[in-house]
Amino acid sequence: MSQNVFAPWEDPNEKPLIQFKNVTKRFGDFTAIDDLTQDIFAREFFALLGPSGCGKTTMMRMLAGFEAPTEGKIFIAGQDMAKIPPNKRAVNMMFQSYALFPHLSVWDNIAFGLKREGKDKDAIAARVEEMLRLTRLSKFAKRKPHQISGGQRQRVALARSLAKAPKLLLLDEPLGALDKKLRQDTQFELMDIQEKTGTTFVIVTHDQEEAMTVASRVAVMDEGRIIQVATPAQIYEAPNSVYVADFIGDVNIISGRAKPTGDKVATQWAEGQPDILGTTTTKFDAGQEIHFAIRPEKVAISTEEPQDAANKLQGKVLDIAYLGNISTYHVELPTGHVIKAQTANTRRLSRRQITWEDKVWISFTDTAGVLLER
């Protein structure tokens, strides 16, 4: 790896900007955040990813100051935030509903926070103009929020939350209300703005694609806990649990018993079927429960028996999902397992020879999948 890769979390000398220390948050009987400890570093684009109700929004609201932890402490830039109200924090938030003030123009919405700081008029005007340029909204400065489109509103919300140059910007499902095409454009815009301003971004989302696209690190959450924190590539290629593997992208999971063989581990998963060979750094005991997870795009499909493949299984095509650029084949094995295999459609449709009910072979190398304990 080159020296220039942005990875402050790997540098033991780097001081984190945000520290959650054994934070627990309960609402009555419900535990939203369960004894959570996590560092987030300056200039990071940190994504909190999880299903609804997993506690990701609560985490963000605690950073903004709208909720106080029941137990534990939160530090921002080394300062304990327990006694500091939202209006005194160098933290700004972009709300899911955007929360634009309907009675104020775009210009006044962006200037709102600056005016509260009591800055002089010229300084405010200069900053607002700068924000309008950054978000390409200069033409709409005089409009009211209901007179602009959803995408423009989203940019006003972003400009407003960035105007005070916060140390930390919180984004609560910022792109949820946009259609897919606009969302993808905006994701790149967000990354661009994050890089330009050098602000630390924490984004909450339930959309794994969005988290993977924008974030430097992704935290996958479930039931008030962080299951795994890693770069998008690590999360995808080396998930630490079936939950993470399943939550991020598409995956085939085959469960069985471990049988260590030399430097490899075989998974015994069904009577009369060859063991699945995999490589791992984790130590497995013989007979231990093991889950083999493999992404569909790493599974090859062919009509003839492949030579020199570490793992090969025979089955018949149950279903074909044609997505244009790729096709996903659902292959049913004699044991009843259905394995998904994905191929890029580099040839025209008429040239492909696999169809429904065909007997096919699926194959993958012994390093294509990951072996998981749980």
Binding site: N92, M93, A99, F112
Partner: protein
């Protein structure tokens, strides 16, 4: 055609029950008082044909309106009505806004009940409720007895038959008209707006002034007109709760009609009152129109 009928029904209704009576009142206001039945002159006598018609119009004049300007009782009554209406509208706003605010902030499952409680007094006759206030406010009334029992005062306060009683009566009676429009404006407000204001550096109070109040502006304006307009011409409350010193145009109107039996002057008073009220009613309509445009 069907649309025409649908539109015609309410307009015919208004014509029969508003426009025609108003024309009659206007006609009486241009007549002279007479010791007769009905107590005004001229009467339209169609038996003499066209001549009767022209002589009828020749008799009409603006004498009564002129008379209103010569006696300062009338313009003082108008001014005093305006002043009482303005003051009590302001007081109703001060009492009603916090109630509407608390209702809009209450848990959603409680809101229908709270709304019901605001409307509940309408189930009892307005007159009975005003009489009840006489029982509360009189020298031997519940309020004085309670204050005496508490030891706050040594002798009963004179509240009934003063302007204070009139204000209490008006605020009490018209409070729902203030609460309901403000509540509906506040209830629609997105709570995250207040969080956004706080997030951007506002204190709680600052967020209230800069976000909540501007966003409930239309509700406040609507509520104020709904209280102000009927209060100007209010007759029952000042005559039952007010004293001889309470000067309101509704009372003057009543006395001209029933005590002095001077129908023409009374009609002139009524016509002027209506003209005064047209201004706030038009402003109210404008406000509603603007609100609809802003939402649409």
């Amino acid at each position: 055609m069907r649309r025409f009928v649908l539109i015609a029904v309410p307009y015919l209704w208004l014509a029969a029950l508003f426009l025609i009576p108003f024309a009659i009142v206007l006609k009486i206001s241009l007549s002279d008082v007479a010791l007769a039945r009905p107590p005004y002159f001229p009467q339209l006598d169609l038996s003499t044909g066209w001549e009767g018609f022209t002589s009828f119009f020749a008799e009409l004049d603006f004498e009564n309106f002129w008379f209103l300007t010569t006696d300062d009782l009338y313009w003082k009554a108008y001014l005093s009505s305006l002043q009482i209406a303005l003051t009590s509208t302001l007081m109703t706003l001060l009492v009603g806004y916090p109630i509407a605010y608390a209702m809009a902030r209450a848990a959603p499952e409680w809101r229908p009940t709270l709304l019901m409680l605001v409307i509940l007094p309408f189930w009892t006759s307005f007159l009975i409720r005003v009489y009840a206030w006489m029982g509360i406010l009189s020298n031997e009334g519940l309020l004085n007895q309670f204050l005496l029992w508490l030891g706050v005062i040594n002798e009963p306060l004179t509240i009934l038959n003063t302007n204070t009683a009139v204000y209490i009566g008006i605020v009490y009676t018209y409070l729902p008209f203030m609460i309901l429009p403000i509540y509906s404006a506040l209830e629609r407000m997105d709570d995250s707006l207040l969080e956004a204001a706080e997030d951007l550096g506002c204190s709680r109070l600052g967020a209230f002034w800069l976000v909540t109040v501007p966003l409930s502006k239309n509700g406040i304006i609507a509520g104020c007109f709904l209280v102000f307009i009927p209060t100007i011409g209010e007759f029952v409350i000042p005559s039952l709760l007010g004293g001889s010193g309470t000067l309101m145009i509704g009372k003057v109107l009543w006395e001209e009609f029933f005590s002095n039996r001077d129908w023409p002057v009374a009609s002139a008073v009524a016509v002027i009152l209506l003209l005064i009220l047209v201004i706030p009613i038009i402003l109210f309509q404008r406000n509603e129109q603007k609100q609809r445009e802003a939402e649409g």
